[in-house]
């Protein structure tokens, strides 16, 4: 039997349904970035350590470089592009700006999705819980100080 080299996948991303023929070996992150042209999801390493590629996958925060695109068939994915609604920033996006929780902005999309996953499941996180929730996301600019503050501010409902 000849090996299957490609497959059609059907994925709902940010509420929109996409159907694409993809290489069986294509990583989900490259599918999102190169095939769907949603370049807000970033690649910072090749070993699943940095979390710049974090997306929500049926509500779970996952590193999209650790999945194949074909595994996402039939799932719902949320990327940074889906956070703002009707031209209105998501409270986390606003808080990141207010608290200067980003500098170069490269880790920010993944960081936002990890933070959203936390707050979707825990409305009153402690500082340690916040830090644990983003420990799979590396930031090389901020030392995490203001990121933790921004997430805590959203949890407290303090967003401009």
């Amino acid at each position: 039997m000849e090996a299957v080299r490609s497959k059609t996948v059907s994925v709902e991303v940010n509420g929109e349904l996409y159907e694409r023929e993809v290489d069986a070996r294509r990583l989900l992150v490259h599918f999102i970035r190169d095939d769907l042209e949603l370049t807000g999801t970033h690649v910072g390493c090749d070993t699943g350590n940095c979390g710049a590629c974090t997306v929500l996958y049926d509500g779970q925060a996952v590193k999209s470089c650790m999945l194949l695109a074909v595994q996402a068939d039939g799932t719902k994915i949320e990327t940074v592009e889906g956070l703002a609604q009707d031209g209105q920033l998501h409270p986390l996006q606003q808080a990141f700006s207010d608290h200067h929780a980003l500098q170069c902005g490269y880790c920010t999309p993944g960081m936002l999705l990890s933070a959203k996953h936390l707050l979707d499941n825990n409305h009153e996180p402690t500082e340690t819980e916040i830090r644990r929730a983003i420990q799979g996301n590396i930031c090389r600019c901020t030392g995490y100080v203001n990121i933790v503050e921004a997430i805590a501010a959203v949890a407290r409902g303090e967003v401009s």
Binding site: R25, R33, G40, N49, L89, H100, C104, Y106, Q135, C141
Partner: protein, 826 residues
């Protein structure tokens, strides 16, 4: 376009001026954030072009090997492969990159790909271009390279031995550069001393700040004009072009550098020219755009590391009261396989020769060598960090050996605030600062008064508590004339930066910067300055994101590096905006029939001071000059499109004496660190941490504090875990983020910050460049560990990176490090 280049006859001084409300000094919302929090930033890998090919480099699996042959035929047979490039082609089509050194380093031949020999594991020896990333990687595996392995050199201290393998036969030696620095009278200091402390060896390790976005570029070649457009994340394209254009045998204008957003750089993106040249050759050869994005493993193995430095045979003459008279040291700097930006690191440390201290007698024997490791680049705190770690180690080792209080020793020896501006023994001028005040504030942050009690409490829990201080300088705005000290033939001196500001037809204020920001918020801070001068708000000012060398806001030293934006970038923006403001007043005066002196800019209008009803909105001014200019006075020389080149006031240094002012500003930082160490295992925790920063007047305090946080995280990562060790075969042991552990959110201690503002007398706004002072964290942690371990035999911290296993070694065998320190009493 009107243009002016002004060199002040005297250093620019901050005039006593009317205090007026403005945006400079306030935390306006960052302009960059809206796009970045929505994933709308444009990073290099986000850019696509029709028909582009993906580049993958074939890299040497050997640290040192002769390349016998390269066969690309199997790769080319793969469907979807567009072409290849090898070192032989590179050697024919390009000239070696120019070397900054004098002989022997100047004899080194450095190309875009390995030519004849591979000199570190991961060095690119060939490149493949294909229709997809995956295919390019597959094809790269089909390239057959025959190697003849050679003996490997990984130990810089062995580099000068007669039987050591030589990396560059044409140079005949592994030495890149060596020189003696001798300021003051060290022999007299030695004679005067009550005690002389001698330290055999101190070692500053190899690491890098590893920006999260890897390096990359998208290169297009236009055959009609012979011009390359390089959309990439080079952080210093001015110098990049100076390297690349002669190698490619073209003029500078054939290289158009474009960047938009850059995902961190920290100096690691200064020496991308070999990769960019390879991509230029491929784009020309294959007649299609080519895109290269480095993989993380590639970055760790083969992009750039920070300089590794070993300090040998240190002597410190001291008086009994702790007054330190100077020091003598032999330094060996390991720059890896090629010098590239080096040997500038052989002089850049001299910007901070005495550190924060008043000692006047310094003798340094400095040698830089090549080894079979990845080449280095100016990693955050470049060269000064290594040297300042030395000066701080000396202070703490002296205090330790003489049983003096490190706080008191610092205060006794710090340059005092009333001595500012202070000229160092080698002619640098510390512009302002109050180090003792910074120290007091840092100690306050960690509640220093309670330390004795906390020590006892920790001891009761089986822990050893230690306190350490790191005081450091963040010298900014280079005088490139310092390059003449390492090579008098070099034709670099001074510094410059460019900005343009224009008023367009519909009243838009548009700013372009020569700087190449990587997260420092330049769009925001530039808009604050423009808004204050033009009497509008930062929201009215559009600062184009990123950089484009075709914007005409570009000069030889353009870029973001060496803690200088607040001086050079802002200086250029201020100059261009003031020129525009003058032209707007001239134009308004011509229309309103008054003198330019009668016109003020406020609330988005040019209006008569005495009659505010007589006003022209900015939109009217922009429209008149650009689209409705009939009837204007013929002698009205106004374009509303102004360019300014900021040049700091520098002289060329005295090359013979190695003497002169090497940087314009000196931000300072004092960090205080409290650790608790488990005496059984060496595992430790930073339980309290304070960082105090003084960068003069702060243009945007929130951005400044963010830089302090980030630089501290880099330092603590480097001090605790981050290192690039090589085994004896030249294999890098930490080639990805699994093995190279950078701080995660749970690793970071709670940071407390404070600030001091001692305005620089030499700059606009009294601001100093900043962002590279985090090295203080390395110094502070080393001192804290040494302090904590005093009850266990007093081991000396001689390494800059101290992971728990190393601390355990110090506990297990304190004599091993103690044996390297002696005190001679006179």
């Amino acid at each position: 376009m009107s243009e002016t280049t002004v060199t002040p006859e005297q250093p620019i001084t901050v005039e006593e001026r009317e205090v007026k409300p403005g945006f400079v000094g306030t935390n306006v919302p960052r302009k960059e954030d809206e796009r970045l929090v929505q994933g709308q930033g444009v990073f290099t890998d986000d850019v696509r072009r029709h028909g582009m090919g993906y580049v993958h480099f074939v890299r040497s699996p050997y640290a040192h090997a002769r390349i016998v042959g390269i066969d690309v035929s199997k790769a080319l047979e793969l469907e979807g492969v567009y072409g290849t490039l090898t070192g032989d082609e590179v050697a024919i089509q390009t000239d070696p990159f120019f070397e900054l050194s004098t002989p022997p380093g100047s004899e080194i031949k450095d190309y875009a790909l390995a030519v004849g020999k591979a000199r570190w594991m991961g060095e690119p020896v060939a490149a493949v271009v294909a229709a997809t990333r995956e295919l390019a990687r597959d094809a790269a595996e089909l390239v057959e390279v025959e190697y003849e392995p050679l003996p490997v050199l990984v130990d810089a201290e062995r580099a000068q031995e007669t039987d050591a393998p030589v990396l560059h036969e044409e140079a005949g030696s592994n030495v890149v550069w060596s020189g003696e620095f001798d300021w003051g009278d060290f022999d007299a200091a030695l004679a005067e001393a009550d005690r002389v402390i001698r330290i055999e060896r101190l070692h500053f390790h190899r690491f890098s700040s590893t920006p999260l976005e890897c390096s990359g570029c998208l290169v297009e070649y236009e055959r009609a004009t012979g011009q390359w457009t390089i959309f990439g994340n080079h952080q210093m394209p001015g110098v990049g072009a100076i390297w690349m254009a002669p190698a490619l045998r073209v003029g500078l204008d054939k290289l158009r550098f474009v960047s938009h957003d850059i995902g961190g750089a920290f100096g690691n993106k200064i020496t991308l020219h070999p990769y960019f040249v390879a991509c230029c050759l491929l784009a020309r050869k294959l007649r299609r755009p080519v895109q290269w994005t480095e993989w993380r493993t590639d970055q760790h193995m083969a992009n750039t590391h920070g300089n590794e430095r070993t300090f040998l045979d240190v002597e410190v003459p001291v008086r009994s009261d702790g007054t330190m008279l100077g020091f003598k040291v032999s330094a060996i700097d390991d720059c890896g396989a090629f010098p590239r930006y080096e040997p500038l690191g052989c002089i850049i440390w001299a910007q901070v020769t005495p550190g924060c201290y008043r000692w006047r007698n310094v003798r340094v024997d400095f040698t830089q060598v090549c080894t079979n490791k990845s080449p280095v680049a100016p990693n955050r705190g470049y060269s000064r960090m290594q040297h300042l770690w030395l000066t701080e180690r000396l202070v703490d080792i002296v205090a330790h050996e003489l049983e003096l209080d490190p706080v008191e020793v610092r205060k006794r020896n710090y340059v005092r605030s009333d001595e500012m501006p202070y000229e160092t023994p080698n002619g640098c001028v510390y512009d302002s600062g109050d180090y003792a005040l910074c120290l007091d504030k840092a100690l306050e942050l960690i509640d220093y008064g309670s330390i004795a009690q906390r020590r006892e409490e920790a001891s009761a829990r089986g822990k050893l508590l230690g306190v350490g201080i790191g005081s450091t300088l963040d010298s900014g705005t280079n005088n490139f004339g310092q390059s003449m000290i390492v090579n008098p033939e070099l034709q670099f001196s001074g510094n410059n930066e460019v900005a343009t500001v224009k008023l367009d037809i519909f009243g838009e204020i548009v700013v372009t910067l020569g700087t190449v920001p990587q997260g420092q918020g330049h769009e925001t801070t530039a808009s604050q300055v423009v808004a204050d001068i033009l009497g509008c708000t930062p929201d009215d000012v559009h600062v184009r994101p990123g950089h484009d060398s075709y914007w005409n806001s570009h000069a030889g030293f353009s870029g973001t590096y060496a803690s200088q934006f607040a001086v050079t970038g802002i200086g250029a923006v201020k100059g261009a905006t003031e020129r525009l403001a003058g032209e707007m007043r001239q134009l308004a005066a011509a229309v309103l029939g008054c003198s330019p002196d009668d016109v003020e800019l406020a609330e988005g209008q040019a209006r008569m001071r005495e009659n505010p009803e007589a006003a022209l909105p900015f939109m009217a001014l922009g429209a008149i000059i650009n689209a409705n200019n009939a009837g204007l006075p013929p002698d009205l020389d106004v374009t509303l499109n102004c360019r300014y080149v900021y040049r700091p006031p520098f002289e060329k240094p005295d090359v013979e004496r190695k003497y002169g002012n090497l940087t314009l500003t000196y931000a300072s930082q004092v960090h205080a660190c409290v650790v608790e160490i488990d005496r059984e295992t060496g595992v430790y925790e930073i339980v309290d941490y304070g960082a105090v920063d003084d960068c003069g007047n702060r243009i945007h305090p929130q951005i400044v504090e963010g830089q302090v946080h980030g630089a501290t995280a880099h330092a603590l990562g480097a001090a605790t875990h981050e290192q690039f060790p090589y085994d004896e075969d030249g294999t890098l042991l930490t080639a990805n983020f699994y093995d190279y552990h950078v701080p995660h959110a749970l690793d970071m201690p709670p940071l407390k910050t404070d600030y001091v503002e001692t305005p620089s007398p030499f700059t606009n706004y009294g601001a100093k460049g900043m962002g590279e002072g985090g090295g203080a964290g390395i110094h502070a942690l080393c001192a804290a560990i040494q302090d904590a371990l005093r009850p266990l035999g007093g081991p000396i911290v001689t390494e800059s990176c101290n992971p728990p296993n190393h601390v355990w070694e110090l506990i297990r065998d304190p004599e091993a490090t103690r044996a390297g320190v002696t005190v001679e009493s006179r």
